[in-house]
Symmetry: C2
Subunit: 427 residues, 2 copies
């Protein structure tokens, strides 16, 4: 698959958000038809991305990483949208990150030249799959994680069976006690690196870490814990470098940084020597959100470690209609667990629009969804609320990843909610 194939891809019946009249059959059909959400052209629920917000976020994040002197390999898993990947890369991203070999395959196919499988590479199909893909494009820079000797040996064996593949480039994943994957101590990491040095078909190219799991309701404590963890990552890098364990000492990869603490990563790991490439992997910045990441961005602003925080704005909204006002204090909307994130916060109605009465969406505050069924959302409203069957509501979301994966297509809109294009996802 190539990026240019997407415009011709079919949008079968069942694709949420596209008109029911059969006028939109391919992704490319969505551009320049003048379809407008507020005019009622689209069946709801529908997920939209505001073009102006995407542009802003791409720009301000790239400016931020350039000022901080680090690279960005946006996590592709957030959107799984090659059209957005292309914009991230054209804005200056170093490469992309992925979580699985299936995601890797998508990025490989569309021609991304630097990829980090920011996860353990495990499984025969996955290891030989990577080796064969890489043999097609040996000039590309692909990196995968390892945290055990068994894992390193399996990769070594798999790559040994595939002629034409370059040696696998490994990054040792540095974990934390009670964390996720990753070596738990410096000694473990050093022993693993020495073992890797003795294996054929694999090379050690760096150290990887993920600090984004440290989130509690006490930001100061989290900041301290993340900083301490990143110090252990730096110590591991230094120990491996001192022991001359990197295959290419002039081009070592150090990678950390989700969307919560990229400022801390840049700050703590600024102690790295020249020649070490520090790669952040933030994924959610491109759409930002109005919940979880808005709160975390406020902490980045407060810390002000690497200059001012990027001024990200929420791009992703899910719109639907009130389908019932069954009793005075209730409104039911056609939007459920199938349509919107619910793993961190429930969505909140941010915009209200009634055709024939409003010229533009009306800003509203504090109308949170109280409960979601599979296909319905429940709003508790004041008994005299002027909210009628048929009214459109635009919802803000928290946690882009778990909203994106509910849509095979999102609609890109201008500030007037006119559709300017379709953004296809590949989950």
């Amino acid at each position: 698959m190539r990026l240019s194939d997407i415009a011709d891809m079919g949008l079968p019946a069942g694709t949420k958000g596209i008109p029911l009249d059969g006028s939109i059959l391919r992704v490319g059909d969505l551009a320049d038809r003048g379809l407008n959400l507020l005019r009622g052209d689209l069946p709801v629920p529908v997920a939209v991305l505001k073009s102006s917000a995407l542009d802003n976020n791409l720009r301000v994040m790239q400016a931020y990483v350039e000022r901080a002197g680090v690279e960005l390999a946006p996590h592709a898993k957030t959107t799984m949208c090659p059209q957005l990947f292309a914009r991230q890369l054209s804005h200056g991203s170093w490469g992309l990150s992925v979580a699985t070999m299936t995601q890797f395959k998508l990025c490989h196919d569309i021609g991304v030249s630097r990829l980090i499988l920011a996860n353990q590479l495990v499984g025969r199909a996955e290891i030989t799959g990577l080796a064969r893909l890489w043999a097609q494009t040996p000039q590309r820079a692909y990196y995968v994680l390892v945290d055990s000797l068994a894992g390193a040996k399996a990769i070594s064996d798999g790559f040994g069976q595939c002629s034409g593949a370059p040696p696998a480039r490994l990054l040792i994943e540095a974990g934390m006690a009670q964390g996720r994957c990753g070596v738990r101590t410096l000694e473990e990491g050093l022993a693993l690196a020495r073992a890797i040095a003795s294996l054929p078909h694999v090379e050690l190219h760096g150290v990887e870490a993920y600090e984004g799991l440290i989130v509690s309701d006490q930001a100061d404590r989290d900041t301290a814990a993340v900083s301490a963890y990143l110090q252990t990552v730096l110590r591991l890098y230094e120990a491996l470098a001192a022991d001359n364990l990197f295959a290419d000492p002039d081009q070592v990869i150090l990678s950390a940084g989700g969307s919560a603490y990229y400022d801390l990563v840049a700050h703590v790991l600024s102690a790295r020597p020249r020649g070490v490439v520090l790669v952040l992997r933030s994924g959610c910045y491109v759409t930002h959100d109005s919940g979880f990441y808005r709160r975390l961005l406020a902490h980045i602003q407060h810390r002000a470690l690497e200059g001012p925080a990027p001024r990200l704005v929420p791009a992703l909204e899910v719109w639907s209609r009130v389908i019932s006002r069954p009793q005075p204090d209730q409104a039911i909307v056609l939007m459920g667990k199938r349509d919107v994130s619910y793993d961190i916060d429930l969505p909140t109605a941010r915009w209200w629009f009634r055709e024939g009465r409003h010229d533009a969406p009306q800003s509203i505050e504090g109308l949170a969804v109280g409960k979601l069924n599979d296909q319905h959302g429940y709003l508790a409203v004041p008994a005299q609320a002027d909210l009628a069957v048929g009214d459109l509501l635009g919802f803000e979301i928290s946690h882009p990843c778990t909203t994106f994966d509910k849509w095979s297509l999102l609609l890109e809109v201008d500030d007037d909610y006119t559709v300017v294009g379709g953004l296809k996802t590949f989950f």
Copy 2:
């Protein structure tokens, strides 16, 4: 789109579960290639449906509804898989149910002759969309819900603007206090029915209800509440019939019944007169599960109202690998919120398989996932557990709907986990 088009549909990179080597490009390619999950042919995570379990569930559920003398319009929203819809219809289902007009469009396109939009029909695009589709196939029996005069008027207006469409067939949704959509009292329902009688382009054809929201941890209390609610539905039907408000008194539709209380629905509404078609809308029976619906089926067995409960067996499993054993009491699997339901229960490992050691999956008990990130699952294990990096684990799920919507393709497998075909979903 026709059912026969699905075999030729492309499986783009990014489709979870298909081999990375590019050998599977279309849905139809998955049949008869001999791909085997246990042999490591498939990248994980992968969602599988056991063919034998699907066959069993289709058969025993149809036998159950026939014995109970009711019809079944399986809820299409559960699977959104036309290949499964076709099997449900060929086993004798009366029609299908859907939750949105986008889902309706899919079922219309593949030729389903009886459809219930088991939801309020609201929105200009949706109402005129239905009218235009129906004008193409006026002989079909389509039904939609209404619970307000505003809703009925909007449908009347929309159908009036579309020449060639039959009158819209409305079912009044009978709700409950603090419930979801639906009229709250008999008087409200009666007033709405009288108003519908005065509107052009709409006809009243029945009464609809949904009792499945009544689920607590006290089954006896739930049974009583569901029975009482269903009695109010019957009373509303009787009042409307007594007032001669149905457009076709010899063919009135009475519909209720999700996958939790279809026995109670059949039992309480068995008091309906001849000529009233009682249509259940269970969706989850086709795959069943190992959590929420297993518990509810035990209550159906216990109540034994309409003969023995159908012997449903779980068909849906998500398989993945242990990718890290970072500390003795932890195992991390490559399976997260993107892959498996987490809205009611977290998944539980049910099968363990190590290539080279096991001939078949080993049954294991009580290894529940403790936490999910987007792409990872955490298992707390005994410190000496013989669970290694690379081992396959097969997970049971709870709530099929929220697992299905995470997969654009599920793999149908035989009892040895050899792939016999691909099942495409349309979310």
